[in-house]
Amino acid sequence: MTITAMTILTTTGTIIMLDDFLVRAALAGVGLALATGPLGAFVVWRRMAYFGDATAHAAILGVALALATSLPITLGTLVVALAMALTVAGLAARGWAMDTVLGVLAHSALAFGLVAISFFPAVRNDLSSYLFGDILAVSRLDLALIWGGAALVLGLIAWRWQALLTATLNEDLAHASGLNPARERLVLVLALALTVAVALKIVGALLIAAMLIIPAAAARGLARSPEAMALGAVVLGAASSLAGLQLSLWQDTPAGPSIIVAAAAFFAASAVLGRLRGTV
């Protein structure tokens, strides 16, 4: 990272500022990976990919709501993402056809959010930062929110790890062991909403689900235990963030998509490696 900082430093000549924003961006990416790694593993294991999409897309509506009520963006995002996640989880428990429900809710949330935001001309030009993230503009406060949120998600998942894993394998089995699978689902819903709020600034609403799924799927090729896969997802997520950041700086590409491009490259490498080692 210092080498990159130095390179840019020589070209522009504003030493401290540059160094600072790069460090902040790198720290933001690593913080996000701490949350998305283990949560992403559960999203993959439980086939919640579209669930993640619906929750993430609701974040745009959350931004509009926050702007309308002059509340902090993170709070608005958190509230709307949580409402969406609870709605979807509730409908799933009632036996709705999830494919259709998620298709309706995910895209409606995004469309409503985009329409609502268009009423705020000041933000209109800034829209792409909500859709694709703006990791290079991460402030100290953002960083505190990202690490605070990630620590919460990590703590929640670590606390419920054994129960979550049992309920993920088989809900009846968990029930017979005296666990409550509905409560474990709620833990994941809560963690998902928190992660969406944390990730919006970094990868943007459109690619949050990708940040959950791709590093976890990439870690599968290298892991033989659930713990190794979750840890691998953290490492690969952090590496994707840093590599994406590099790409974004070099080529002036949007940061969020660049991070996902890096993650996809890791996934491809891991798939080949896993096949060679026979772990998949």
């Binding site: 968990a174 062991s177 033989r224």
Partner: protein
């Protein structure tokens, strides 16, 4: 006191009453097999007894602090979830390596702890599920169609294993079977279920039945038994349909009318 007892239990799936007025009790150390056609509510009964499904009527009484080991009908583990058999045994309660080794030896999976769960065969998976259930030192073991997908030999071997477990631990066994006629020979009681309890009785050991030997060979070593259904209780009066209970071996009709006399 019974380990677990249901009295006048009714269970609904939405508007449909799946189980009607079920009364049964499981005593210490006994083996009870529940048989019934598809959709007769066998799995529903187990899930209600486990407390997974709520009772719409009647009640379930459990001995205080009852430990139940549950072996579900099937466990689909996708390859996307990497987990070894050894790690699986530590869910949700972590167990020592010594305990894990002992239980794997007990179910005939010695030295297989490093295997990925997704790579286990059907028979191995059933043994793995049994091993995990045994680690909780259950007083009642509930098994939902544990031999589904196993061949006759595998089924007999699994039943012998269950019998040994009962002899060693003294736990009661409640097992659901997909086969209306061939059940575990060691069953103390067989309950025939079809939304309600149709009939109940003892199995008749088949190791000596010539028809059965001719059909399946000698390899079951007395682990399997025939169950003769006696559906002569009063939910269809004998004058209404004299042929309803006229069973011929494997052509079990199960078409008794559900007229319930008050």
């Amino acid at each position: 006191m019974s380990l677990i007892a249901a009295s006048h239990l009714c269970v609904r799936h939405g508007p449909t009453e799946v189980l009607h007025d079920i009364s049964l009790a499981l005593e210490k150390g006994e083996i009870v097999t529940v048989v019934g056609p598809n959709g007769s509510g066998k799995s529903t009964l187990l899930r209600a007894l486990l407390g997974i499904l709520p009772a719409a009527g009647g009640r379930i009484a459990r001995a205080p602090g009852l430990r139940i080991g549950y072996v579900p009908q099937r466990l689909m583990i996708d390859r996307i979830l990497p987990i070894t058999l050894r790690r699986f045994l530590s869910l949700p309660v972590r167990v020592t390596d010594a305990a894990a080794q002992a239980v794997l030896k007990r179910v005939g999976l010695e030295g297989q702890g490093g295997q990925q769960m997704a790579a286990l065969s059907g028979g191995q998976m059933q043994r793995a599920l049994l091993a995990r259930a045994l680690l909780a030192e259950p007083q009642v073991l509930m098994l939902d169609e544990p031999t589904q997908g196993l061949d006759q030999q595998g089924e007999a071997a699994f039943y012998r294993l269950i019998e040994e477990v009962r002899a060693e631990t003294g736990c009661a066994i409640l097992m659901v079977s997909h086969d209306l006629h061939v059940v575990m020979a060691a069953s103390d009681r067989v309950i025939c279920l079809n939304g309600h309890v149709c009939c109940e009785g003892t199995p008749q050991v088949v190791s000596d039945a010539p028809e059965y030997r001719a059909l399946f060979g000698l390899g079951t070593q007395g682990a399997l038994a025939l169950y003769r259904h006696e559906h002569d209780h009063d939910h269809a009066g004998p004058t209404e349909d004299p042929h309803a209970h006229d069973h011929h071996g494997h052509d079990h009709p199960h078409h008794h009318g559900h007229h319930h006399h008050a």
